[in-house]
């Protein structure tokens, strides 16, 4: 168990210390994060990190292994480009939470802002509350589970991937459509939520890409002419 007081440390000093401790597999507590940006970035070892207080932008981004808990709010781009591991923020996350994440699990205890899960490439993003405008924009893979309401333009320009919404949907984005949710899928979603103590949501709307805007194949135009 190690405790670091972020107050008085530069961001670089703090992140270097976190990396050193993470390499030893320590359980780390960070005091006074004070909503500062870029805390706990690019940590690749499996360990546990707890931030006691709010963090700023790009917290725990480029994560590959750790379990990170944030007791407070997170700013924009929490868990950006996350590869593996777990992130849990107790209150709200700002815009672009889980942006381009590739694996692992990201849990938001409160609400998430606009562009939640933008360009996701894997993993699962769970929001206990509501999400904002353009959630799941250009999503390529993975799952987003929203227990509350989703804002407008949900799943706009999605390629693949699935969004489950427990509450209302402001509007569907370009090429997004709803689909029947299978019994098996629903059980998966409920199991994921049960892991975070959420048992009161039973029904979800499933949103996927309608794939009507797919206009490409694997050949370039000139290659096709040559055929």
């Amino acid at each position: 168990m190690a405790t670091i007081d972020a107050a008085g440390l530069s961001t670089r000093e703090l992140n270097i210390r976190l990396k050193d401790l993470a390499a030893k597999g320590e359980e780390i507590t960070v005091l006074n994060p004070n909503a500062r940006h870029n805390l706990g970035v690019a940590i690749f070892n499996r360990c546990k990190i707890r931030f006691e207080g709010s963090v700023g932008y790009f917290a725990a981004s480029m994560l590959d292994g750790p379990e990170v808990v944030i007791e407070g709010n997170a700013g924009w781009a929490l868990g950006e480009n996350m590869m593996a591991g777990k992130i849990s923020v107790s209150k709200n996350a700002g815009a672009s939470v889980g942006s381009t994440m590739r694996g692992g699990e990201l849990f938001v205890g409160g609400d998430a802002g606009a562009r939640a899960g933008i360009s996701m490439k894997g993993g699962v993003l769970i929001v206990a509350g509501n999400t904002g405008f353009l959630t799941g924009f250009m999503m390529q893979k993975g799952r987003i589970i929203i227990c509350g309401d989703a804002g407008e333009a949900l799943g706009d320009s999605m390629y693949e991937g699935t969004i489950y919404v427990g509450g209302s949907i402001g509007s569907l984005g370009a090429d997004a459509t709803t689909e029947e949710i299978s019994e098996e899928e629903l059980l998966d979603v409920l199991a994921a939520l049960r892991g975070h103590g959420i048992e009161n949501k039973r029904s979800f709307t499933k949103v996927v890409s309608a794939k009507k805007l797919y206009h490409y194949d694997t050949l370039e135009r000139l290659e096709k002419l040559a055929l």
Partner: protein
Amino acid sequence: MCGLSGILYKRAWSEGSFHVGHDLVMMLEPMTHRGKDSSGVTIMGEQIDGDLVIRIWTENVQDIPSVAARSEETVRHAGGVMRSTSTLDQFLRLVVNYEGEVADLADALIKVPGVAIHSIGTTSEVIKDIGTPAMMDVKHGVGEILGTHGIGHVRMATESRVDVNHAHPFWAYPFPDITVVHNGQLTNYHKLKRMYEDQGHHFQTGNDSEIIAVYLAGKLAEGQGLKQALRSSLDDLDGTFTYLVATKDGLGYAKDQWSAKPLVTMETDDVIAIASEEISLRGVFAEEIERIEPQNSEVMTWLL
């Protein structure tokens, strides 16, 4: 990029004044990663009946006293009584007793060679300069100024030059006590500017943010309430924006339809603080309290 801050103590001046200047500096300093080429604040405070505070900046660095003298003469010619004039570097601060139309006084002053008007107010003044908020505090004593509410800005210039006049806040010429700070870029700036110039509006800079102040001034002149004007701006302004407006009676914000530029707010029974980032709010709220993040196409006003 730019960073915004705003603070409002939920009490009229008669019930107590607060270190609004100090608060704004404490809120702006942690946001210099969003911009450090210029800083500025509007602090709203005590109203002294009939008195106006006029903040002028002159490019005429060779002969500042003559600009001061000509400004004073212009005030008298317009029917005003000079209370005091102070000079700091190229800044002039005139306190004037004046019962006429502020528009007439502003139009007369702007004709004095070398004069740029930063603000005219019955209860507020704009202090803005090149450099960081800490530098502005040291030079202008912003930290000492008391008030009831105020807004502040740190600038990273994106489409117009870095100089004192292009710093925010922008005053909604000629309406006393209405100023604006903006984060974002307006894409229909030139179209709107031509339209307003045709109507006789006066622009002092080439900064797109100035159009927000002019726009609000225009709407208020038509008789729209502040909240209504903010709502209209969501449709009429094109581009990305989060902006804060300060008036004699309170504060307001507007967020664009894309949720492109950030904003967070915190509120207690005594005070409201608004800023681009939570780290700014920590300048006045050391402890963790509820933070709200307004969403796209939102407007809000708070009145004293």
